[in-house]
C-alpha cells in the first residue's frame, strides 16, 4: 500500500492531511479527537498576544452558499482569532504535543506588527514543543482593522520584516500563511522567502458577503440588523487557491519554496491536485466543519487507492508533477483541435447542452424532432461548455482531431506541429517561426 507519510520542512506526519487553523483546531478537546480520527497534523487556532483575549460576536458568525440538496459549497465567517487566553492555549498545546509525538502540531500566531510583540510570544511558543509556527497574515476581517492579519499580508515589506523577526527569535520552521485578498500573490510569497520563511501556506479566506436579507436589508450573517464582510472558504474557493498555488510554484522568485495548500479541500482528489501543483501537504477547514473529523478517512483511503493505481509509492512521487504543465495562455498549442462528441447511449435528452450552445456558444448542437442531440462539427469550437453543463458524467467528451484530417469548421488540415500565439500570423507582435 502507498506510503502517505509526509516530511514537510522536516516535520513528519502520518499523512498529508492537516487541519487548518480555525475552529476545528481551537482547543485541546478538538485536536485530540481530530488526531484520534486520523488527521496527520493540525495548525492550532491562531493565538494572539498575552492579555485579555479578543471577543467574538454573540450572534451568527457564518453565512453559506448552497448547491443542490443544500450541499455546502461556500462558507463565510466573521470569526476572529482565538478568544481564549494565551496561557491556556499554550498549556493545551504542550500537553497535546507530548501525547501525540507522531503528529504535526503547528502554532498559528497573530500579534501586532512590532518586534517586541513577536519577541515576547515566540519563546513561549517554542517552549510548548510544537513543531513549527504559521504566521497568520491572512484574516480579512476584524483583525485587519487592528493592523494585523490581512493588513500585514497585503504589504510585502511587513511580511518580510515579521518573518525575519520570527526566524530570529524562533528556532523551528516558520510558515507564512498568505491572504488571497491581493492582486499578485507572488509578491507576498517572495517577501516571505526574503524574510527567511521555510514555507508558505495558502489561501486564507476571501473577502465576501454571502447574501443580503431582503426583509431587513442587512447583509448576512446579520448581527442585530447589521452585517459585515467575512472570509470565504470551502469548495467554491478551490480554483482560486489552486491558481495562486500554481503561480508561486512557477514564479522564478518563489519556485521550489515548500507550500502547504489550503482552500476548499474536501476529497482525496482535491488534495492530490494541490500536491501535483507543488504542495507538500494540505490543510482542511470547511470540509471538517461541514462533515466532521471522520471525513479524513475518505481522504486517506482515496489517496492511497489512487497512488496504488498510479504506482506512486510516496507523496514525493507526484508532488509538483503538474507544475511543468502549467503555462501561460500564449504557449498553448493552437494546432490542437478537438470536437465535442455525444454518447447517444448515455444521453438522457435533457437538452441542456443545446440550450447552452445555441443561446450562448456556437450553435453547434443540432436537436432533432425526436430529441436526438448531435454535434455539428462544422460549428463546434470545442469550448467544453456542453461537457460542463451535461448532467451525465462522460456523456459528452471532447475528442481530438487527428493531425492530417480536415477540420470541418475551418476547412483546414489539422497540423501536427505545435504552434502558439507567439508565432500566429494574427498576432501583431508575432515573432517569425524558426
Amino acid at each position: 500500500m502507498a506510503d502517505l507519510t509526509t516530511d514537510f520542512l522536516g516535520i513528519k506526519s502520518p499523512n498529508p492531511f492537516w487541519l487548518a487553523s480555525a475552529p476545528p483546531t481551537d482547543k485541546e478537546y478538538n485536536v485530540r479527537r481530530a488526531f484520534e480520527a486520523g488527521w496527520g497534523g493540525v495548525v492550532w487556532k491562531t493565538l494572539g498576544e498575552e492579555g485579555p483575549p479578543v471577543v467574538n460576536v454573540n450572534g451568527p458568525r457564518y453565512g453559506v452558499i448552497y448547491g443542490a440538496d443544500r450541499r455546502v459549497l461556500g462558507l463565510n465567517n466573521i470569526e476572529l482569532i482565538t478568544d481564549r487566553s494565551l496561557e491556556i492555549n499554550l498549556e493545551e498545546i504542550t500537553r497535546v504535543k507530548k501525547d501525540y509525538p507522531d503528529r504535526a502540531l503547528i502554532v498559528s500566531i497573530m500579534v501586532p506588527c512590532e518586534e517586541e510583540a513577536w519577541k515576547a510570544i515566540l519563546p513561549r511558543v517554542e517552549a510548548t514543543g510544537a513543531d513549527g509556527i504559521e504566521l497568520n497574515f491572512g484574516c480579512p476581517h476584524g483583525m485587519s482593522e487592528r493592523g494585523m492579519g490581512a493588513a500585514v499580508g497585503q504589504v510585502p515589506e511587513y511580511i518580510e520584516r515579521v518573518t525575519r523577526w520570527c526566524k530570529q527569535y524562533y528556532s523551528k520552521p516558520v510558515i507564512v500563511k498568505l491572504t488571497p485578498n491581493i492582486t499578485d500573490v507572488r509578491k507576498p510569497a517572495a517577501a516571505a522567502r526574503r524574510g527567511g520563511a521555510d514555507a508558505v501556506s495558502l489561501i486564507n479566506t476571501i473577502n465576501s458577503i454571502t447574501s443580503v436579507n431582503l426583509d431587513t436589508m442587512s447583509p448576512e450573517p446579520s448581527i442585530d440588523g447589521k452585517g459585515t464582510h467575512g472570509g470565504y472558504c470551502g469548495p467554491a474557493v478551490k480554483p482560486i487557491a489552486l491558481s495562486m498555488v500554481s503561480e508561486i510554484a512557477r514564479a522564478e522568485e518563489t519556485a521550489g519554496m515548500p507550500i502547504s495548500g489550503i482552500g476548499g479541500i474536501t476529497t482525496w482528489r482535491d488534495a492530490a491536485e494541490y500536491i501535483t501543483l507543488g504542495c507538500g501537504n494540505v490543510q482542511v477547514c470547511t470540509a471538517a466543519m461541514t462533515y466532521g473529523f471522520k471525513i479524513v478517512q475518505e481522504m486517506i483511503s482515496g489517496l492511497s487507492q489512487w497512488m496504488d493505481e498510479k504506482g506512486h509509492t510516496s507523496i514525493d512521487d507526484f508532488m509538483g508533477k503538474a507544475v511543468p504543465n502549467t503555462t501561460d495562455w500564449q504557449y498553448l498549442n493552437l494546432n490542437y483541435v478537438a470536437k465535442a462528441v455525444i454518447d447517444q447511449d448515455a444521453c438522457i435528452a435533457c437538452g441542456r447542452c443545446y440550450a447552452a450552445c445555441e443561446d450562448t456558444s456556437h450553435q453547434a448542437i443540432a436537436m432533432s424532432e425526436d430529441r436526438t442531440f448531435t454535434v455539428i462539427d462544422e460549428e463546434c469550437v470545442a469550448c467544453n461548455l456542453c461537457v460542463d453543463v451535461c448532467p451525465v458524467e462522460d456523456c459528452i467528451t471532447l475528442v481530438q482531431l487527428a493531425p492530417g484530417t480536415v477540420d470541418p469548421r475551418t476547412g483546414k488540415v489539422v497540423e501536427k506541429e505545435y504552434a502558439n500565439w507567439t508565432t500566429h500570423p494574427n498576432n501583431p507582435g508575432a515573432v517569425a517561426a524558426e
Binding site: R269, Y291, G292, K294, I295, E298, S301, G302, Q305, E393
Partner: protein, 444 residues
C-alpha cells in the same frame, strides 16, 4: 407445450425466454451514473442511524462517500471490513426493515438513500476484479473447525483465516454457501453469484472447505473438540415444521425450502414442474419467495395462506407488496385444516381464525381453495443439537456465541437470539471469530 392453465404439476408452463426474463435481478445493478446520483443524496450523517440499523455495522456514510469520490473499490473494502458477505447482503437484505428504514431521508422524504444497491455497486466492482482486499496475519499455528458453510460459517472462517488461523469448514451438502446457495430466491441472487462469492471469500487462503461431512454422521462433536483448538457450529436450521393435518402426505404437498432448493439448483428452469393452483402456508420470507417464484414459473393462481393478520406477518410490507404485485393472493387469518384429493392434492381446506385474549383460535368457518401444489413454509427447526444445551428450540449461547461446551461456539440461525437473516448470521460468525481468536491467543 404446457401453459399456465395446464392442470396438475407440470414443467415448462412458460418458454425459456420468458422464464429467463422472470428470473433476472429483482433490483437491477446501478449504472455508474445512477450510483453517482444515488450516492450524492447521502448526508454523511454523524453517528448515522443507518449504521446502527445494520446488524454488521457497516460504515455506510463512509462507503457511500467513497463511491461519490470515485473510489468504489475503497468503498467495497469498507463494506467487507465489517461484512465479508457484503455482496450477498446487498442482494438479500430486507433493507426496508434495516438500514434504509433508518435512513434520515426515509424520515424526511419517504425516500431513503439506496444503500443496498449502492452496496452492490461497490462490492461488484471489487469482486469482478477478483481482488481480495485483506491479507492473512502471521500464522498462529492454531486450527479451527467450522461446521456449516452458510453465511455464519463462512464469515467466521474468513475472519479466523485473516487473523492467521487455519480453518477447516465442513458441510453436509455438496456445495458450500448454505442458504445463499440453496435457499435465497433466484431473483435475488442470480446466476452463480453464491458460488463465486464463496470462491472469492476463500481466496484469502487458509480455508479448506470439505463438503459431504455431516455432524452426527461423519463428524462427532467430541472428536472435533479433540482435533481442533476451537469449533464453530453454524449448521442453520435443517428441519422443517410439519403441518400436522389430514392429507399432509398427499402428492403435491412439499416443503417450500425443498422447492426453492430445487429451483436454485436447476440448470434449466423449463424442467421445473409447478402447479396450476399453488397454495403456500406460512407468513415469512420463505413463504413469499416460494409464492413469487411459483408465479414466475407460470402458475395460474398462487395464494399465501397465513394464520394471523397482515401486521403479524414476518415478511415485511415490502415483501408482501412484492408478492401482491406479482399477482399472489394474500389470505390472512386462515389456518390449514385438511388437504383433500385422490392421491394427489386437489384442494386445501382452511379455517378462519380469530385472536382472543392473545390466543389464536379457529372460528369454525371453513373455506376451500383449489390446489394442485401445497408448500409448507411454517418455519425451520434445529436438526443438529450435538448434545449441547438448548435455549428454546435453538442452541443456547452466551456472549459472542459460546455454547454450553467449552471450546465450542455457535452462530447464525442455529443459535438462539437474533433474527434469522443472512446479515445477522454474518455478524454472529464474525463476532464469534473475534472471541475465538481472543480465547486462543490468551487475551480473554
Amino acid at each position: 407445450m404446457n401453459n399456465t392453465f395446464t392442470p396438475g404439476v407440470v414443467p415448462a408452463r412458460l418458454g425459456t425466454d420468458e422464464l429467463q426474463q422472470n428470473f433476472t435481478d429483482l433490483h437491477a445493478p446501478l449504472s455508474g451514473h445512477e450510483a453517482a446520483v444515488a450516492a450524492d443524496r447521502c448526508y454523511f450523517c454523524h453517528d448515522a442511524p443507518c449504521v446502527t440499523a445494520c446488524p454488521t455495522d457497516i460504515d455506510i456514510p463512509l462507503f457511500i462517500r467513497q463511491i461519490s469520490t470515485g473510489t468504489p473499490e475503497a468503498a467495497a473494502t469498507t463494506i467487507f471490513d465489517m461484512n465479508i458477505l457484503g455482496g450477498m447482503c446487498a442482494r438479500v437484505c430486507p433493507t426496508e426493515d434495516l438500514c434504509e428504514q433508518a435512513c434520515v431521508r426515509e424520515l424526511a422524504e419517504g425516500k431513503p438513500v439506496e444503500i443496498g444497491r449502492l452496496q452492490r455497486f461497490a462490492t461488484d466492482k471489487l469482486m469482478n476484479k477478483g481482488v481480495m482486499p485483506f491479507t492473512r496475519a502471521q500464522a498462529t499455528g492454531k486450527k479451527v473447525a467450522v461446521v456449516g458453510a452458510g453465511p455464519a460459517g463462512l464469515s467466521c472462517a474468513h475472519r479466523l483465516a485473516m487473523l492467521g488461523h487455519d480453518v477447516t469448514v465442513y458441510d453436509a451438502m455438496p456445495k458450500a454457501g448454505g442458504l445463499n446457495e440453496y435457499g435465497i430466491a433466484a431473483y435475488k441472487s442470480t446466476g452463480d453469484f453464491a458460488a463465486r462469492e464463496v470462491d472469492w471469500l476463500c481466496s484469502i487462503g487458509g480455508i479448506e472447505i470439505k463438503p459431504g461431512f455431516a455432524l452426527g454422521n461423519e463428524l462427532k462433536i467430541d472428536e472435533l473438540v479433540g482435533d481442533f483448538a476451537a469449533v464453530f457450529l453454524a449448521v442453520g436450521l435443517g428441519g422443517v415444521n410439519a403441518l400436522g393435518i389430514a392429507g399432509d402426505d398427499k402428492d403435491g404437498v412439499a416443503d417450500a425450502v425443498s422447492f426453492i432448493q430445487e429451483l436454485r439448483q436447476a440448470s434449466d428452469l423449463t424442467t421445473l414442474p409447478v402447479g396450476r393452483n399453488v397454495v403456500v402456508i406460512g407468513g415469512g420470507m420463505t413463504a413469499v419467495d416460494a409464492a413469487v417464484q411459483s408465479k414466475l414459473l407460470g402458475a395460474d393462481t398462487v395464494t399465501i395462506a397465513y394464520r394471523r393478520g397482515r401486521d403479524a406477518m414476518s415478511a415485511s410490507r415490502y415483501e408482501q407488496d412484492l408478492a401482491a404485485s406479482h399477482g399472489v393472493k394474500l389470505l390472512f387469518n386462515v389456518q390449514p385444516k385438511a388437504i383433500h384429493g385422490n392421491g394427489a392434492v386437489a384442494e386445501i381446506e382452511l379455517e378462519y381464525t380469530a385472536t382472543e385474549n392473545g390466543k389464536l383460535t379457529g372460528t369454525g368457518e371453513m373455506i376451500r381453495v383449489l390446489a394442485d401444489q401445497v408448500f409448507r413454509a411454517i418455519g425451520q427447526t434445529l436438526a443438529t443439537e450435538a448434545g449441547l444445551k438448548l435455549d428454546g428450540r435453538k442452541l443456547a449461547i452466551t456472549g459472542a456465541g459460546r455454547t454450553s461446551l467449552a471450546g465450542v461456539w455457535a452462530g447464525g440461525d442455529c443459535a438462539a437470539g437474533g433474527d434469522d437473516l443472512t446479515v445477522t448470521a454474518v455478524a454472529e460468525g464474525r463476532d464469534a471469530a473475534m472471541d475465538i481468536h481472543a480465547t486462543l491467543m490468551g487475551s480473554n
